[in-house]
């Protein structure tokens, strides 16, 4: 099928197109040079055209998402929409059902979303859900930061074995990259303890979070994985944690990237740019993080923007969730994934008049506005930790309009004036910046810029058209219009199919699941597997044969190849 999008005001930052009237030709699911005269024509009529949205960090599938659903039946009541001839029912707000995940992303013009954390042992569950999420392409990052084999090989300084383990772990979980959550802390939480900084020693393994992060970064580059290490820092959720975050970012200097991308992605900075020493003198240090980003390469971040209202925090960081549940007197689910990690789920309600929440709201925005290069800060809400992903249009409007921010600040706790810099920041992002933070940047960070996040020839035909005429719109003054346009795309085209028209789902093709098949020499793998087999014999509650994600779980796989290459370690 051929498709021609005419008269669009195209924002395609990866190809240097910023608002020019450019035609986009689509054939067989790809962007091509030109199409025949028989192509179906979509007249964009001067409206905003961008590549399909790419989300590099969102919790959309897997064990903890489902725990969230189970423990929050009250959330299921929100957003209920009965089935139609095309769509299945929608339920939920912070923890929607699988169908609503796909539909709502597509309705906002998003076409690719990555689940940010799966334990290998729970990966079958993740893929069972991913396979039911309609329309969007997706993938899942695999947790390695507190796994026993990881810590064993880090202690032994055996990077070959660690590389073999990571490659095998990605295969076992059909994962896309290395996720590290509170390295070492997940293991210590099994004993009711936590690490408090990069140099705390994890008992029984004699390694530090610093060792774990650096080793995994080295191995990530040895294997030439498309994405970098994706780090949820130690001390998250504790006042004063910005120092740990900066120290973790500093570690990226020790490793050179094997590809044109960062070596470390520090995620949801809203939760780890906290100044102060307690809840009383809690303040934003997002400016310090932004300052670091402005003076360094190799590190990228995402916002994890806070959205007022209901949210469900879910993370592999078990100890922080225990602290949250105690602090908030909230429901708490705790999970222990045997040799791999911990986890926890706690609902939260962010309130404008609570000083801490107001300050946190400012942090994500400060980070995005004070960092000069939008490629270094992706737009996320760490769905559903900061708030549900359906609020991305709200975040876009806040970034594009100082007027909207000032209006919002008036409704917030006064601490936002004293403990953050947001009231004085006048910068307003343009459509090109937004296209980077939600498309080109995310694709680059994930290492998928060849096919995602841009509209050049050869890219996947994922396109969104929004009902805004950029040359006739002042986003600063007309922020409500911006928000509503990004909430419901005029068109979303996924793989050459029109899946959304005027905000309504028109087709529900199944997207693909991306995973990385990284090769290591066979003998290296065999040596490592001996250890793994021992671990299963001695410690795991399940058999190795029942552990791997089988091909049957991925009915629409897309394999990205990687493998061992030499790396320079300075």
């Amino acid at each position: 099928m051929e498709l021609l999008i005419k008269n669009g005001a195209v924002f395609d930052p990866a190809n240097g197109i910023a608002g020019d009237k450019t035609d986009i030709s689509i054939k067989d699911g790809k962007i091509v040079d030109k199409v025949s005269s028989g192509a179906i024509v979509i007249d964009a009529g001067g409206r905003l055209v961008m590549p399909g949205g790419v989300d590099a960090h969102s919790h959309i599938a897997g064990a903890k998402v489902n725990v969230g659903r189970i423990m929050r039946p009250e959330d299921t009541r929100a957003g209920i929409k009965p089935r139609t001839k095309i769509t299945r029912p929608y339920t939920g707000y912070t923890v929607p059902n699988v169908y609503a995940m796909g539909y709502r992303y597509a309705q906002m013009g998003y076409t690719t979303v990555f689940e940010a954390a799966q334990a290998i042992m729970k990966a079958r569950h993740t893929h069972e859900e991913l396979e039911e999420i309609p329309i969007i392409d997706k993938g899942a990052l695999t947790l390695f930061g507190s796994n026993w084999p990881t810590m064993d090989y880090v202690r032994e300084k055996n990077m070959d074995k660690l590389a073999a383990y990571v490659a095998w772990g990605l295969l076992a979980s059909r994962g896309f990259g290395i996720k590290v959550v509170n390295p070492g802390g997940g293991e210590m939480w099994g004993f009711g303890k936590n690490v408090t900084g990069l140099d705390d020693v994890v008992p029984n393994f004699e390694v530090t979070p610093r060792d774990i992060i650096v080793s995994l970064m080295k191995v990530n580059e040895m294997l030439g994985l498309p994405h970098s290490v994706h780090l949820h820092c130690n001390n998250l959720g504790k006042p004063g944690n910005y120092k740990t975050t900066l120290a973790s970012m500093e570690l990226a200097k020790q490793v050179k990237p094997s590809k044109d991308r960062q070596v470390l992605h520090v995620t949801h900075v809203t939760f780890n740019c906290w100044g102060g020493t307690n809840w009383g003198d809690f303040e934003s240090k997002a400016d310090e993080i932004a300052n670091y980003l402005n003076n360094s390469e190799n590190v990228t971040t995402d916002m994890g923007q806070l959205i007022f209202g209901s949210a469900t925090t879910m993370t592999a960081d078990g100890p922080v969730q225990y602290a949250n549940a105690k602090l908030l007197h909230a429901k708490w689910a705790n999970g222990d994934v045997e040799l791999e990690d911990a986890s926890g789920v706690v609902p939260i309600f962010y309130v404008k008049q609570v000083s801490i929440h107001a300050i946190m709201w400012a942090m994500g925005l400060e980070l995005a506005l004070l960092t000069k290069d939008p490629y270094k800060v992706l737009l996320t809400t760490d769905h559903p930790n900061g708030g549900p992903f359906v609020n991305y249009p709200e975040v876009i409007a806040l970034l594009m309009s100082n007027k909207k921010r000032q209006e919002e600040i008036k409704t917030l706790h006064e601490a936002v004036h004293k403990r953050t810099k947001i009231p004085g920041i006048e910068r307003e992002l343009g459509f090109n910046d937004i296209a980077i933070m939600t498309r080109a940047g995310s694709a680059k960070v994930l290492g998928l810029l060849d096919t995602k996040g841009h509209l050049g020839v050869g890219a996947d035909a994922d396109v969104s058209i929004y009902d805004i005429k950029p040359d006739q719109t002042d986003p600063s003054a007309e922020h409500a219009k911006i928000k509503s346009a990004f909430q419901s795309a005029a068109y979303t085209i996924k793989g050459g199919n029109v899946v959304v028209k005027d905000g309504q789902i028109t087709a529900t093709p199944m997207g693909r699941t991306f995973w990385v098949d990284a090769s290591v020499p066979d003998e290296q793998k065999e040596i490592m597997m001996k250890d793994i087999r021992m671990k299963f014999k001695n410690y795991y509650s399940i058999n190795l044969a029942n552990y791997m994600v089988q091909d049957a779980y991925l009915t629409h796989p897309y394999v990205v190849r990687a493998g061992v290459i030499p790396v320079e370690v300075s």
Binding site: M71, P73, E74, D75, R77, H329, A330, K331
Partner: protein, 252 residues
């Protein structure tokens, strides 16, 4: 003044959901419009007119609407859901979720009501002359607040989990209540003139006054005796496990 009279047609055997039976939905509407309001019977979409004989007279604002229901409504759920004003008088029994989320007005029932009556009620008044089922004035599954305001009076008895997760308002039961009355409650006042068992578990705030307790949870601290309205009660505070500041009075 607007009066709407509703009688069930030939026996409703499977559950009907009729949240549109409410002064808010009826106000200012003609008889025909009211009859064509949506309802569900099982998984079939239908109308109020199909399920009930409806006669409407006059017209008026919500507060001036009087709904008179007569007959067996024991398979009709969600009557008066979310109503803000007006009057609903029911002569007969009703099914679950009567007056759920109501914030004003008054509902009276001459018979029995099934579970979840007054669920998440914010205001108004619910008078039940017969017995109430489980979860009277409670919260929805998973919600941290059930009833927040208003008043529920039961002349008969109520079953278990009365006022679970209650955050405000008042529930008065003249008869007995089942186990775990006021479970996890966080405010409001519950009066049970008869007996109950294990009241106030996990309560953080609020007051529970009970005639007789069959079994006390071992999580309350005895504070001595105190007279309430001239009657002497043992006063307890708790639940101490959750550091609760709730008060439980048990008649001596």
């Amino acid at each position: 003044m607007q009066t709407v009279a509703i009688k069930p047609k030939n026996g409703i055997k499977i559950s009907a959901e009729a949240e549109n039976i409410s002064p808010d939905k009826f106000a200012g509407k003609s008889e025909k419009d009211i009859q064509s309001l949506e309802a569900w019977m099982g998984n079939q979409k239908t109308t109020l007119g199909e399920l009930f004989t409806i006669k409407a007279e006059g017209t008026g604002a919500v507060a001036d609407v009087k709904v008179v229901m007569e007959g067996d409504f024991s398979r009709v759920k969600r009557i008066g859901e979310g109503m803000t004003a007006g009057l609903v008088m029911i002569k007969g029994n009703v099914d679950m979720h009567l007056g759920a989320k109501m914030s004003g007005g008054k509902i009276s029932v001459s018979g029995n009501v099934d579970s979840w009556a007054g669920r998440e009620m914010k205001g108004g008044e619910l008078i039940i002359e017969g017995n109430a089922g489980y979860y009277l004035g409670a919260g929805y599954r998973g919600e941290t607040c059930g009833m927040r305001g208003g008043k529920i009076t039961v002349l008969g008895s109520a079953l278990d989990f009365l006022g679970e997760h209650m955050c405000g308002g008042e529930i008065i039961v003249k008869g007995n209540a089942g186990i775990l009355a006021g479970l996890s409650n966080n405010g409001g006042k519950i009066v049970i003139e008869g007996s109950t068992s294990r009241p106030g578990s996990e309560m953080a705030k609020g007051t529970i006054i009970v005639g007789k307790v069959d079994e006390m949870m071992p999580v309350f601290k005895l504070e001595g005796t105190e007279a309430v309205d001239g009657v002497s009660y043992r006063k307890y505070t708790g639940d101490v496990i959750v550091n609760g500041k709730g008060v439980l009075y048990v008649k001596e």
